[in-house]
C-alpha cells in the first residue's frame, strides 16, 4: 500500500497532522494502538499560542466545539488553572469568584468526582455551596459490578437518561445561581450539553472527573471521524512492527494486523507519545525510541532521571527524540530525510518552545504538516 504520509500514533498530535494534510487532499494513513492521551485530557489547551485560531478552526470543522474565553478553570481537586482555549464543556469562569450560591450535584456512589473539594474551594471564594446526590433506577445495573461506576459508563447511561437527571436536579434546586455537574454528559453528542443548560434554572458548569475523560474521548472520536470523512485511513488497534530504513530515508513500515503488507509513503510522522504510550521505552540502563532507534539525550546515571518530589518536574519527562529545526528526527547524529517527530515523543524540554503538552502536540503537528504540504522537506 502506498500513501503520501503515514503517521504513527492516533492521539492529538497524530490526528491534527492527519486532518491538516488530508484537508489538502493528500493520502494519509494513521496507525493507532488504541487508547491515547486524549482519554486523559483535561480539555484545557492552556496555551495554544499562535496556533489558537487555527486549532479552533480545525476542531470546529470536525464538530468539536471550543470555548476561547480567557479565564480560570475549576479543577477536580478544587484548584484553579488559567485557560485560554478549552473544549466547550470545560467551563471557564472570568475570575475565581464564580457565583453567590452553587449547587453541586453528583451521582450516589460515583467516587471519581469530588464535591467536597469543589465546595471548599468555592466557599473560600465567597460562594455558598450545597452538595446533593441523585440516584437513577436506570443506572442501578452498574452497581452489580463494584468497578462499573466510572465516568464513561455513567456517560453511556446519561446519553439515554439525561432528561431524568435534569428533572431530579430541578427538584433539588433552590435559589442557586450556579449548578456544578461532573463531565459525564454528551459522550455521543455534545448538543446534549446545550439542552441541559436550557433545561436547568441556573447557569451550569461542567467539572472534570477522574479519567477516563468524557470530553476527551468524544473529541478523539470526532477528530477521527473528520479524518476518515476527508478520506484518511485510520488503522485502529494496530501497531508498527518494523521499518525499512536506508541512508536516512524511511521507505516503508509493517504493522501487526497487516502482517506482510508493507505501507510505503513519501513521509512518515512519528506521533507515538511518551513513555506511557510506549513511544519511548526505558530499561534500568537506557532510554530508547523503539521503532527507529532515534537519538535521545539522557544521563547515564539513573539517579539523575528522577526528582524525589513526586510533584516536581521530573527529569525523565524531558527525554525525547532529538530533531533539527524542521522537526526531522535525528538518528546517529544525522537528521532523517523524511521522518518527522511531533508531540510527546519529543519530550518535555520542547514544551518551552511550544507551551504545554497539548500545545506541543498541536503546534508541532501543524508545523510538520505545513512543511510536507509546502514540499519544503
Amino acid at each position: 500500500m502506498k500513501f503520501d504520509t503515514v503517521i504513527i500514533g492516533g492521539g492529538l498530535a497524530g490526528l491534527t497532522a492527519g486532518i491538516s494534510l488530508q484537508e489538502t487532499g493528500r493520502k494519509v494513513a494513521i496507525v493507532s494502538a488504541g487508547q491515547n492521551s486524549m482519554h486523559f485530557f483535561s480539555g484545557n489547551f492552556e496555551d495554544a499560542g499562535p496556533a489558537k485560531e487555527r486549532t479552533a478552526a480545525l476542531f470546529a470543522a470536525a464538530g468539536v466545539r471550543m470555548s476561547a474565553l480567557e479565564g480560570v478553570l475549576l479543577m477536580p481537586m478544587g484548584t484553579f488553572r488559567q485557560a485560554s482555549l478549552t473544549l466547550e464543556d470545560v467551563t471557564v469562569f472570568p475570575d475565581e469568584h464564580v457565583a453567590e450560591k452553587a449547587l453541586i450535584v453528583n451521582f450516589t456512589g460515583f467516587h471519581d468526582f469530588y464535591g467536597t473539594f469543589l465546595a471548599e474551594a468555592l466557599e473560600k471564594r465567597g460562594t455558598t455551596c450545597r452538595i446533593r446526590f441523585v440516584r437513577l433506577p436506570e443506572m442501578e445495573h452498574l452497581r452489580l459490578s463494584p468497578s462499573e461506576m466510572r465516568s464513561v459508563n455513567i456517560a453511556r447511561a446519561m446519553d439515554e437518561h439525561w432528561e431524568k437527571v435534569v428533572a431530579d436536579i430541578r427538584i433539588l434546586h433552590k435559589d442557586e445561581d450556579l449548578i456544578l455537574l461532573p463531565q459525564v454528559f454528551g459522550l455521543k453528542d455534545a448538543s446534549v450539553l446545550d439542552k441541559i443548560r436550557t433545561a436547568l434554572p441556573a447557569r451550569v458548569a461542567f467539572i472534570g472527573t477522574m479519567p477516563p475523560s468524557v470530553p476527551g474521548i468524544r473529541t478523539q472520536m470526532l477528530l477521527r471521524r473528520r479524518f476518515e470523512l476527508l478520506g484518511g485511513t485510520f488503522l485502529m488497534g494496530d501497531e508498527v512492527t518494523s521499518a525499512a530504513l536506508h541512508e536516512g530515508v524511511v521507505s516503508s513500515i509493517t504493522t501487526r494486523n497487516l502482517d506482510t503488507v508493507r505501507l510505503f509513503a513519501d513521509h512518515f510522522i512519528l506521533a507515538s507519545g511518551g513513555f506511557f504510550s510506549k513511544g519511548l521505552v526505558s530499561t534500568p540502563t537506557q532510554v530508547y525510541e523503539p521503532l527507529f532507534g532515534l537519538d535521545i539525550d539522557y544521563p547515564e546515571d539513573r539517579n539523575a532521571w528522577y526528582d524525589a518530589d513526586f510533584f516536581a518536574d521530573q527529569p525523565y519527562m524531558d527525554y525525547g527524540v532529538r530533531t533539527d529545526a524542521q522537526l526531522h528526527a535525528m538518528k546517529d547524529g544525522e537528521p532523517m530525510k523524511n521522518l518527522f517527530a511531533v508531540g510527546s515523543v519529543l519530550g518535555n524540554t520542547r514544551r518551552e518552545d511550544y507551551g504545554t503538552a497539548a500545545g506541543l502536540a498541536i503546534r508541532t503537528a501543524f508545523a510538520v504538516a505545513d512543511i510536507i504540504k509546502g514540499g519544503n522537506v
Partner: protein, 531 residues
Amino acid sequence: MKRNEYDVIIVGGGITGAGTARDCAMRGLKVLLIERHDIATGATGRNHGLLHSGARYAVTDQESASECIRENMILRRIASHCVDETDGFFITLPEDDLNYQAKFVESCLAAGIDAQIVDPKEALRMEPSMNPDLIGAVKVPDGSVDPFRLCAANMLDAKLHGAQVLLYTEVTGFIKSGDRIQGVRTYNHQTRKCAEYYANITVNAAGIWGQHIAELADVKIGMFPAKGALLIFAHRVNGIVINRCRKPANADILVPGDTVCIIGTTSTKIPFEECDGVRVTPDEVNLLIEEGAKLAPALASTRILRAYAGVRPLVSADNDPSGRNISRGIVCLDHETRDGLKGFVTITGGKLMTYRLMAEMVTDLVCRKLSIDKTCETATTPLPGAGGKSFREVAERFWENPTTVQKAAAGRLGTAVGRFQAADSVDQSLICECEEVSVGEINSAIERMDVSGLTDLRRRTRVGMGTCQGELCGCRAAGLLAKAHGCADRARTDLKDFMTERWKGMYPIGWGDALREAEYTQWVYKHVLGV
C-alpha cells in the same frame, strides 16, 4: 487513679509495642501506648512478611531457631487471618556446597523444625518458579504473614481490653523523681500540644529508635542499625517461600504475599542518624534482582512495584561490620538492675516472628515489678478476626455467594468481616481496584481504626498497595476522608503526602512499566486533577 495515670506506658506502636499492649491489657493492667507516627511505620512494616520456620537460623543460632518455630505454630492459631501457610524450600544451587544441606537438616531437627529433603525434580514440580538448575531442596514450615494486619489486630485487641493508644505522639522526655521514671512528656504532632502521662513502669519498645528513647532516660543502649533493602514484584511468582540453603547472605529469600512476592534483603550498617530516612540505592536494586533471579529466574523479567528498606533493631554485641552474625535474639533489659533506674524497661532485638514472645517476656517483667500474678494468655487466645479456616470459608459464613470483593475483605479482616453483612451496593463499590478494597471497608477503617490520613488507611486496608500504587484509589479515598473529617484542604495535603510516599518507593525501580505508570500518574495529578 487519675485520668493521665497508668500502670504501664508503652513507647512504640510497632508489632512489639502492640503485642505488649495487648498482653498487659489482657492481664488487667491500665495501659497507654504512645507512638510517634502511625502503627507499623518502622521495621514492622518494612520486612519480608516471612513467617519464619526458624530454619534460616538453625545452623548459626539454635535459640532463635527454636523460638521461631514455636511462635510460628502459635501465630498459625492465634492470627490465622494474617498468615498464609505456604511452606518453604531451602534450595542448593550448583555454586553452593551440597554438604551444607546435611548440617542444615540436622540443625533444623535439633531445633524442632520439620525439615525434609525433597528430590530436586519433585521440588520443582511443587514450586515450578524455582531455578531449574537446583541440585538440592529441603522443605520447611515457612509461611507468609501480613505484618500490618498482625499489628493492627494486636492494637485493636489491646483497645478491646481497655488499652489507650495515642498515635502521632512523640515522647520528648521523661518525668523523673530520684532514681525512678514516673512518666513521660509528649508532643502531639497533630494537635501540636504537649502533655504529661504517669505510670509505674514505662516500657521502651521503640525498635531501633529505642536507643534514643533510652538516651532521654539517661541510660545507654548500643544499637546496631542494619539497613535491609527489599523489592516487591507485581505478581505472585512463587506459591512457596524460596530460600538459599547456605549461610545467610544477601537477597536469598523470596516470599509470596497476597498478590505479590518480595525479594530481600541486603544488610548494610548505617549510622544511627540515618534510621529515619533510609533509601534504596540503584546498586541495591541491581543486587536484589541479580540474586533474586538465581532463586526464581522469572524475577529478571517480572515488573517491580516498589523498593523499600527497613532498619533491624539489633543490639550490638561484637564488631562484625555486616551485622549478620549478631544474634537476632531477644533483649529484655531491666534498667533497675542494669543501670539503677527504676520504673523503666526496654524490650528490643528479636524479630517480627518473636514479637509475641517478646511481649510475654517484658509483660512478665512488668507484672513481677508490680507484684501482679497473672499468667500470659496470648499464645492461646485468638486475635480479632482469627479463627476461620480460609477466607472463602469465612466469606461464606456471611454471604451466600460471596463476590471477589467480599472474599478479599474476608481475607484481610478474617471473621471480623461480619460487620459488612448489611452493606448495600454503594458500600460494595470499589475504591481500590488493584486490591479490591470497597467503600464499606474504608469507611469502617476510618471509624474504628484511628485513621488520620491516607497512609494510615493504606496500612490498615491495603489501599494503594497494588499495581497502580495509588494513582486512582488515592483520590477516591481522599474523597471519603474529606467527607469523614469534613476538611478538604487537609485531605488534599494528605493526598500529596501519600503520593510522595508512594513515589519514594517507585523511583528506585523507575523504568519499563513502572515508569509508564509513573508518567501517567504524574500527568493525571498535575494536569487533569490539578493537585
